[in-house]
Symmetry: C2
Subunit: 215 residues, 2 copies
């Protein structure tokens, strides 16, 4: 039996305010039904009790569709909800500590645009690196500086785990991020704000199949 | 071999702003050296990475003194720092979920002034109940309403685990809280703001030995 390879072509990050008037559940359902392989629950305003409830609802949706559910920041919430993974950054629990707590039961993502820190995260047990902001972003709390695709390539060259580009990514520029060595892209507004999230998901997945002039 | 009974006569809750110009480490060291059996790290402003570092520093201090270290809110931080327990409230992970994640490795405290919720928390695995605010409090984020010692007695009568009074407790009124059935008291300002935290700790511990007119 061989493990199924980690499919992170597209990570859809939630944003309750952008999804209005739809619920997060509405948008996530549309995205996973259209083929999004991974969802990340992010809600900086919710308390832990609310996050656990929301995560359990989303996990029922993602599991039924064969998609992965990651939780932003909180290892305890991810474990309580039975999620597939947790996404960490420099302000969160260290990757090594998270891996020990989870005892291998969670896929760990780590945000960095620094090749050396990416390599360290890989050694500490990270399953993938989130790297950005690649382009300008409309989501204020995605890491500030715009790094461009050349930096994505540096980070991808430094590690053997998947590197996922994030920040200002659309169906129009996704192929260039992949051509720079990213295994996939993470988006917030491109799907959360889309009038038709299923269509937006399909457009992004198709764009990632397209050969890029950078290749 | 019998387990040592849980000593929660006095839980000292940290507050970095109140401790100024001293550090939390200064005040906690003074308190545990003076006999405080338990410390709770609470810092609503710190991120998880900072909390883990702070918790590890405090754990070295409490462990050396034979005192217990609890972490407010974050089960993952408590596990990462090797703390003795975590204190939860209605906005945090459910007690049952926390107990499953910790697999029995953490003592779980739960805040409530409702006898039925206290009983439920005990069934779910809580090791103690924090009950308040007993009196008026100078710490804004301790549960609002003032419940008085009669309610402490109701909660203590409802459970077999220790009930710890919190909110506005001083050496002057601690004996009355104990007389109402509390196994101990939790304080913030009475020690964090004290000019001499060791002396303030001794005063509280002695006050808890004093017979009360309520007994």
């Amino acid at each position: 039996v061989t493990a199924r390879p980690l499919d992170l072509r597209l990570i859809v990050i939630t944003d309750a305010a952008m999804a209005v008037p739809r619920t997060i559940e509405d948008v996530v359902t549309a995205a996973v039904m259209a083929g999004a392989p991974a969802i990340q629950l992010r809600d900086k305003l919710a308390n832990a009790a609310e996050l656990v409830e929301q995560a359990r609802r989303l996990h029922a949706i993602t599991r039924a569709a064969g998609a992965l559910l990651f939780i932003n920041d909180r290892v305890d919430v991810a474990l309580a909800a039975g999620a597939d993974g947790v996404h960490l950054g420099p302000d969160d629990l260290p990757v090594l500590a998270a891996d020990r707590i989870a005892k291998g039961s969670l896929l760990l993502g780590y945000s960095t645009d620094d090749p050396a820190l990416a390599r360290q995260a890989e050694q500490d047990g990270a399953a993938y690196i989130g790297c950005g902001a690649v382009f300008g972003t409309r989501t204020k709390d995605v890491a500030g500086e715009q790094i461009g695709t050349a930096r994505v390539r540096e980070v991808a060259d430094a590690v053997s785990i998947p590197v996922i580009g994030i920040g200002g990514i659309t169906a129009g520029n996704a192929a260039g991020v992949k051509a720079a060595g990213a295994a996939g892209v993470a988006v917030v507004s491109a799907i959360m704000k889309a009038p038709d999230p299923a269509r937006a998901t399909t457009d992004l997945l198709l764009a990632l199949l397209r050969p890029s002039t950078l290749q």
